[in-house]
Amino acid sequence: MLRYVVRRLVMLLGIVVVISIGSFYLIHLLPGDPAAVILGTGDTPANRAILYKQLGLDRPMVVQYFIWLRNILHGNFGISFISQTSVASTIRAALPIDLELIALSQILAFAAAIPLAMRSARKPDGIVDRILGAGSFTLLSIPPFIIIVLLVLVISIKLGISNTGPSSYVSFGTDWIVNLESLTLPAFTLAIGSFVLYYRVLRSDLIATLQEEFITVARSKGISRRRIMWRHAFRPSSVALLGSAGVNIGGLLASGFVVEYLLAIPGLGYTLIAAINASDYLLVQGIVLVVSVGVVVINFLFDFVINIVDPRISRE
């Protein structure tokens, strides 16, 4: 187990290094010269050489990378040329919103998917299973931006609940009721896709597990159906569920951007789109870096949990 974790950690580190090189290089791929922008009318070859020296742009690319990396590791993502604010503080303000949004949506998705998958697996192709199957497919086939428009129409406009918009967002610490209210709609939208995925994955694995001999053995001990489902069938059936959740949560950051933008929630997605529109490349770079590393770390954590759930995986 320990060896497995160490091996995985080394891999994780490798991936993060590759990501960092990628994000660093991103800026250099962009057209335009920062010195030209900064100097404006005073752009002479002599001034430019001085500024290059000041900014460290005369150094070799590799050296620049390590200087940049050292700054990042110290939490210094630079100062945005556009807004003149620290990139790190902008990210620090936006990131918790995404984390909360994803956490809420995942709680909703799991809370619905697990019991419904169990209900379906109890009688595959039964009436309940068919209804759930058809319903989940319908939900899956509607893209989130349509769902969100429908939800806004029904919940916010018709029913007048859950106001959205940048002005209505309040942090959890300030007023948690208003905070949850403002995140209900986006969390719900994000939860739908996750729910369908988790429901389908868990349902089919549960059906397979319930055919196993050890389930018959457990039944023959006189254990209740409910206990067999939770204690015997759920754990061996949840490996694919956790694996897909790891990948899905990474992807949620991306689809979360759409939802955030549509509902004007000032999370990373909203900030990123605004930064792209404003050509605020340093901010783009910072967000890309944070999100990429986040995705990798989430996947690593899920891998770790899968190993605890199914000890056979790290043993081989």
């Binding site: 006189g222 061996p236 199914d310």
Partner: protein
């Protein structure tokens, strides 16, 4: 069998509905098992042994299966009983050991938990008491350092050890009847004897009755008091084990005996394989199911099924129109 039978099976039939029509896996099986008795059930693969065992337990799925007849376990009927009713019998009255210890244990649950779960759910034991008892059980089935093994996952144990765990779990609530369905088939030959001896020993210590299902006559010869030979879902010969071995009347029983190796034979003696194949249960005719493979079969055998004869003075019965005579053996 003068005592009140612990298990009484009467005219048990189990039919599966298949795409090819009804498949009679077990047909009109009757027998009894008294307290502390061991009944052996032998037969080829597909003769209905496992279906019989699962039907006695009431573990057979309900969908597309028709079960008729009666199975009384210590007085309680299991045919047609609801799962809730059966749950009261399982573990405490009857328990089952399954064929393959590789699949019978939950791979992601510590083996100790799989034993003390039964104690906690069925006997209402507290967590620590159940754990202590589970460790005792592991010790009883001959697992070295049981306290450490309690925390092992099945994948960390050998096949023999796993089967010992399966046995410990089955015996946790000291059932009165143990159904052992090919308990050694999945194990190495050297382990087989160990497991069988363990079962034998536990049967005496815990005063259980045992139904030992196997295709291996060598397994039942010395370890059972009575023997039922099954063919195509029916019992074709029944009697005291010693009697069936020495005075078998049914040609199938003889064929089965001749197809197992014997120490007394000179080495390199060819085993007598039973010609032909086991019958297709979907297309069983009117006659004796064994007739197509039987050297003694005549016209009658092909058109009329021989019933199981009334037991003789020794309790021996058989289903054959042309039983082997006393001399021919």
């Amino acid at each position: 069998m003068s005592e009140v039978p612990l298990l009484e099976v009467r005219e048990l039939s189990v039919t599966f509905e298949t795409a090819g029509g009804p498949l009679p896996a077990v047909s009109g099986v009757s027998f009894t098992v008294g307290p502390n008795e061991t009944l052996g059930i032998v037969g080829e693969s597909g003769s209905g042994k496992t279906v019989l065992a699962r039907s006695i337990m009431g573990l057979q799925p309900r969908a597309r299966v028709t079960t008729t007849g009666s199975v009384r376990l210590n007085g309680s009927e299991t045919v047609g009983a609801s799962e809730t009713e059966l749950r009261r019998l399982w573990s405490t009255e009857v328990a089952m050991i399954f064929q393959d210890p590789m699949t019978a244990l939950n791979p992601v649950m510590r083996v100790g938990k799989q034993i003390d779960e039964t104690l906690r759910v069925r006997l209402g034991m507290s967590r620590p008491a159940a754990k202590a008892r589970a460790i005792e059980l592991l010790e009883m089935v001959g697992i070295p350092s049981p306290a450490q093994r309690y925390n092992a996952y099945p994948g960390q144990l050998s096949g023999g050890m796993r089967q010992r765990v399966v046995i410990a779990a089955a015996l946790a609530c000291t059932p009165k009847l143990l159904l052992a369905d090919e308990p050694t088939t999945g194990l190495d030959v050297t382990i087989q004897a160990q497991i069988l001896n363990l079962l034998d020993d536990l049967k005496d210590r815990l005063h259980m009755s045992v139904v030992l299902i196997t295709h291996d006559l060598g397994v039942v010869a010395t370890r059972t008091s009575h023997l039922a030979v099954m063919y195509a879902g029916r019992i074709v010969e029944f009697g005291a084990t010693r009697d069936v071995f020495a005075h078998h009347r049914m040609p199938y029983t003889r064929a089965l005996l001749e197809s197992s190796p014997r120490v007394a034979n000179p080495s390199h003696t060819r085993l007598a394989a039973i010609p032909g194949r086991p019958p297709n249960l979907l297309t069983l005719g009117e006659g004796c199911a064994f007739a197509p493979r039987c050297a003694y079969a005549n016209d009658r055998c092909h058109v009329e099924r021989p019933p199981l004869s009334a037991p003789d003075a020794a309790g021996h019965s058989f289903a054959c129109w042309n039983p082997l005579s006393e001399e021919s053996r």
